[in-house]
């Protein structure tokens, strides 16, 4: 009986692994496949040709630069705006606090396209279409939830007495935030920053609507590449798109598991 359960569990885990890893393997092999047509189980030969097609395309290089710039700027701007808000949410009671917290979440719950279309008409009026600022606003909007909710929870997890002890030691309110609250919430803020970076890196719909054709990023560039080249190119592109995201997620994982966040709660 026990062995049967074990076998079933192993089988289940195997299927789960196939389900998760299978498409990735398929994607990876596709990116190197010379020729791969329907009934074949395996591609006929491998090549780096598709990588060259992508890398040699000057549009792609520009898109890569744009993506990196937008994502970095988005994280900085989002942090500058949202971290103070997150602190306020965690430390102060003010009218409308609950409503605003839920509203932030609701923005992400609605279909994005509807929001962007509404935004677009506003942007036309404000002459923000096809501008860097317009694209940045769209990107920052998509990160507000991460940059507010995650740090707010982290700020709340910093015991008041630790802040009070700093006041008692002679620190003014700003110094307390800088030397105690912020460092203690830093692992969570890093997580939020990385999730924001990934969100910005992956943002396509709004960027296309507001930025195209002047400001193309990796995901928006992908639309045109996918239409103009064989499917192997999109596989290459997918990998290029997901490598930074995957790498950053691994980084986050380490921060969460072994960081000071865990240590902070060990005080006896």
């Amino acid at each position: 009986m026990r062995t049967l359960v074990k076998v079933l569990i192993s089988l289940f885990m195997f299927l789960l692994a196939v389900f998760i890893v299978g498409p990735l393997v398929w994607l990876a092999s596709r990116a190197f496949a010379a020729e791969w047509r329907y009934p074949d189980l395996w591609p006929t030969g491998f090549t780096l040709r598709w990588w060259r097609v992508v890398v040699d395309d000057p549009m792609v290089v520009v898109a890569l630069q744009n993506s990196a710039t937008f994502a970095s700027l988005t994280v900085l701007i989002s942090a500058a705006i949202c971290l103070p808000a997150a602190y306020a949410f965690s430390r102060y009671q003010f009218p409308g606090r609950r409503f605003m917290l839920v509203a932030l979440f609701a923005v992400n719950a609605f279909p994005k396209m509807g929001l962007f279309v509404a935004l677009a008409s506003l942007f036309y009026a404000l002459q923000l279409m096809q501008t860097v600022l317009g694209v940045l606003i769209v990107h920052v909007l998509g990160t507000v939830v991460f940059m507010t909710w995650i740090p707010a929870a982290a700020f709340s997890a910093v015991p008041r007495s630790l802040e009070e002890a700093a006041r008692d030691a002679g620190a003014g309110p700003f110094r307390v935030f800088w030397s105690v609250t912020l460092p203690m919430a830093l692992p969570a803020i890093l997580v939020a920053a990385i999730m924001s970076f990934i969100a910005s890196w992956d943002e396509a719909q709004g960027t296309y609507l507001v930025g195209a054709p002047d400001y193309m990023t990796m995901p928006t560039q992908m639309y045109s590449l996918v239409l103009n080249y064989p499917s192997q190119v999109s596989a290459v592109f997918s990998i290029l798109l997901s490598v930074p995201s995957a790498g950053l997620l691994l980084l986050v994982r380490k921060q969460i598991m072994g960081g000071q966040l865990a240590e902070g709660f060990q005080i006896k």
Binding site: A165, A171, K268
Partner: protein
């Protein structure tokens, strides 16, 4: 000489309730005063008003002659040891202790010297590079103490400094704290709900009840001459009887409570001179003494501490009464 700390008519309301009511207290320079009282009586609230975390509705806090009532905590010359120590987990022991001096913009060399000295004082030099999460509760407690002492504060505030330590450690640490406090001659207010702790450490004890101070006295006087029924009951053990208890018996008297410490009740052989006849109801051994409960013919139950060989349950004995206190409306009367 100016008084180390003066509290003048402090009044504090929280959540629509009066928590501290017209509280006044003088602490001499270099003196250790304990705020002793049951949980919820307003001790921490009082301490937080001294530290500056709470602003009183009325009253003043005066430190070494300077009115600090309107100053925020960072501008006050007091340093507090928090009940849960409140060490910063992302800083080492050294960094924790150095932080107040860095805030005060002391020169680097002076900081290093003062931190090293205070860590030696609290015997933590071997842990100077450890994170607070990696050291024991007692060591965390000493780190918190070092962080307060390094500021050379005019007033040291301790909120239940021993409550998170295990019983064995507690006795040793309270001696250590008292020793350091006396050596440095530092004016100290300590909060505790533990009478043994207060008795062992304080120059004077202020017993608090329901937001007010009931009595401020030396530990000895508090025990042997309590001014209110609350103090008599809260400090030490007490036999309480309704009516007027006298060496020859009990006379009913409305509104009067008589009280006598178990040490003042002597169990003597039956029909001794000037003793009340009684029967032993229960004997509870405590090692070096026994708690003997007797019942007199007038149905008065009294507990006595017997150090010699105790009588057996059911024995007929005599009880001789020492000093009896009488209280009316909670106040001591003749």
């Amino acid at each position: 000489m100016t008084t180390g700390l003066q509290l003048e008519g402090l009044h504090k309301e929280l959540g629509g309730r009066t928590i501290v009511e017209n509280l006044s207290l003088d602490v001499a320079t270099g003196e250790l005063v304990c705020l002793l009282g049951p949980s919820g009586c307003g001790k921490t609230t009082t301490l937080r008003m001294i530290a500056g975390f709470l602003e009183p509705e009325s009253g003043r806090v005066v430190v070494a002659g300077h009115d600090v009532t309107s100053l925020p905590p960072e501008k006050r010359p007091s340093a507090m040891v928090f009940q849960n120590y409140a060490l910063w987990p992302h800083m080492t022991v050294t960094k924790n202790v150095a932080f107040p001096l860095r805030l005060a913009k002391r020169p680097r060399a002076e900081i290093a010297e003062r931190v090293a000295k205070v860590l030696e004082l609290v015997n933590l030099t071997h842990h100077k590079d450890s994170r607070p999460g990696r050291i024991s509760g007692g060591e965390q407690q000493r780190t918190a103490l070092a962080r307060a002492l390094v500021q050379e504060p005019a007033v040291l505030l301790l909120d239940e400094p021993l409550s998170n330590l295990d019983a064995k450690l507690r006795v040793r640490v309270r001696e250590d704290i008292r020793e350091i406090q006396q050596r440095l001659g530092i004016t100290t207010v300590m909060v505790t709900h533990d009478q043994d702790e207060a008795m062992a450490m304080a120059d004077r004890i202020a017993v608090m009840n329901d937001g007010r101070i009931e009595q401020v006295s030396s530990p000895q006087e508090l025990y042997s001459d309590p001014q209110t029924e609350f103090v008599a009951t809260f400090v030490g053990s007490l036999n309480k009887v309704e009516g007027r208890l006298e060496p020859h018996g009990l006379t009913p008297e409305a509104g009067l409570t008589s009280a006598i410490r178990p040490e003042a009740v002597a169990v003597v052989p039956a029909s001794s001179d000037g003793a009340l006849d009684a029967e032993v109801v229960r004997v509870t051994p405590h090692g070096h003494f026994a708690e003997v409960k007797v019942k007199t013919l007038g149905e008065v139950e009294l507990v006595s501490f017997v150090t010699g060989p105790p009588p057996a349950e059911g024995d007929q004995v005599g009880v001789r009464l020492g000093e009896v206190w009488r209280f009316r409306d909670g106040k001591r009367v003749r």
